[in-house]
Symmetry: C2
Subunit: 342 residues, 2 copies
DNA sequence: GTGAAAGCGCTAACAC
DNA sequence: GTGTTAGCGCTTTCAC
């Protein structure tokens, strides 16, 4: 072990017989400092093995150059993809991401949010859990004036900007497309109605049915969670309730996978006896049999826009305003739920 | 907007007419402070809406309670799963993770490592890119005495602890199992030979063949990357080289997917004409047709062990020693590459 | 059991 | 162009 002494600005300053401040400025390429001095400083820093201390820098400059990210889970195509984009967008703007995972649990979400506030992140990027109802922490964030952007799963009415897929219209258009191609009997494994995506996708679904004078028997709308297991249970509930629909529209892709599993067990053939459409797809979908027709949710665009919006709010605090970006979706037809007329 | 003033220890101290130090101690539940005072302090902190400033705390205590994580990518089952476990393990130990993604690019890896050092993380958890050869940054880390644990993709000979799957023996055992069941003609889409996983999996493969007096024609070992695209190109190269083997063993799961795609295009039926086995699986595998037989890589165990090892090194600096944990694997038979004898 | 003094490493404001 | 002074919010001695 060689000298473990940590090199600071002071060491460089002493080595060069100039002041700490000049070194600090030189390293940050401040116009105050002459070219020759800068060169010298940089050389010495390199030689001494100087590594800047961001903690100290952040404390004195009162900004951390970090963004706090809270997601419900990571091993899910939409989030994995959005997260990657968020990382790259932040990185390109010289911001670091501190990501936390709530695992769909409100307790974790709350702790993470508090930690992130304590870490003095410059802004927050959040997609809430499927359970989030207590919004007091978000009110605290608002009061403290910390920029926050919700993406995909949002809490409405708090005055924060949001970036979402066009859940209602996207669903409406897709269902209409399928109706026009000949299907009439639809069921929906819906998300919890207190979540924006659950509610909006359900609305799109109901409106499309209504506008075509199609009835949906109540047992055919099952309110559930967003995971594979929820799809499994949801299908079983539908199945036991008697007659099956032609098409099951699921609130997420994992839910659709759960339906496939359950249907296999129940001896229902897909796409022979039953069709599936999901909101959201997966990179693995083309390897899945039957591949699931889905409403394409632009995860990368959502991640990118949300980060850019947040960065903008961080950098221009004076012109902060509530904005709502809605990203268009489109129906992608795969094995499951081919159009009847085609 | 109400008062945006940030509450600090000082405010609580003044409110209570005691000193900052006592407040600080009370909040940290220091034994110095009496129960009644603690109660009062906590109450006041709550009432005033105090949020501790970790930046300041870290600066003065010289530890950040954070771990820096560098992974090559995130949308890949092994990493998504390992990352989730790493997060939870760290979280349970009251550590935060600062994750960065190198996208398999050494330049990014270097920048991220420097940033992490500047952020004064207490330790580093790293899985290197498929290209990493320059190890000087890791020597710097060593010199500065910062604990580092490599997982899955490691750099050897630097004195750092590592946690990996049992790449060589696991491969050896799996291939032997397949040979014993009747297969004799194997090809391998191997990882780059300068990576530990590429090298070790190849060794396991070659040894299994050699110990059974089986020859592998040179065109049947193709050195390539770890992604789907590499599998596609790798298969095409094999395909064009003439005769096909019975079984292709791929260095990763995504590479196997690439092979499936390429084989479909080439009109080769799987598992009819060609078998596949991959090192590593996917949660989606059971939905994939044909589902790929794979050597199960315990991603959660690897993530957990690596984090625990690092935490141990952080907490007990005096008894730090190089350790190498190797997690056992096992062959999981799916559609592709069923055992012949069965 | 409590507090005063000192300092973590850096940057901002202002002087020279 | 360069340096001085002060302070970010907290924790760490160490004295009382």
């Amino acid at each position: 072990m060689t000298s473990k002494k940590v090199i600071t600005l002071k060491d460089i300053a002493e080595d060069l017989n100039i002041s700490k401040v000049s070194v600090s400025k030189a390293l940050r390429d401040h116009p105050d400092i002459g070219a020759e001095t800068k060169r010298l400083v940089r050389e010495t820093a390199e030689r001494l093995g100087y590594v800047p201390n961001y903690i100290a820098r952040n404390l004195s400059s009162r900004q951390s150059k970090t963004i706090g990210l809270v997601v419900p889970k990571i091993a899910h195509h939409f989030f994995a993809s959005a997260i990657e984009t968020i990382y790259h967008t932040a990185f390109d703007n010289k911001y670091e991401i501190i990501m936390t995972v709530s695992q769909e649990k409100v307790e974790n979400e709350l702790i993470h949010l508090q930690t992130l506030l304590s870490m003095r992140v410059d802004g927050l990027l959040i997609s809430v859990t499927e359970q989030t109802k207590d919004i007091s922490i978000f009110e605290t964030v608002k009061k403290r004036g910390i920029p926050l952007v919700f993406f995909d799963r949002v809490v409405e009415g708090l005055g924060f900007s949001t970036v979402t897929a066009d859940d209602e219209q996207g669903t409406y258009d897709a269902i209409i497309e399928l109706i026009n191609s000949g299907y009439t009997k639809f069921a929906h494994l819906a998300g919890y109605s207190y979540t924006n995506i659950g509610k909006n996708r359900l609305n799109g679904f109901r409106n499309a049915m209504k506008d075509n004078n199609l009835k949906v028997p109540e047992p055919w709308v099952v309110e559930t969670g967003f995971a594979e297991g929820d799809g499994y249970k949801g299908f079983m509930k539908l199945f036991r309730s008697g007659e099956l629909p032609e098409v099951i529209f699921t609130v997420t892709y994992p839910v659709a996978l759960g339906v496939i599993l359950a249907a296999q067990e129940a001896g229902i053939s897909i796409p022979g006896d039953l069709q599936i459409v999901s909101f959201g797809g997966s990179i693995y979908n083309r390897f899945v049999t039957p591949s699931i027709s889905y409403i394409d949710q632009p995860s990368e665009e959502i991640g990118k826009k949300a980060t850019e919006l947040l960065l903008d709010e961080i950098k221009n605090p004076e012109m902060r305003e509530e904005r709502h970006i809605v990203a268009p979706t489109k129906l992608v037809i795969c094995d499951t739920c081919k159009k009847k007329e085609e």
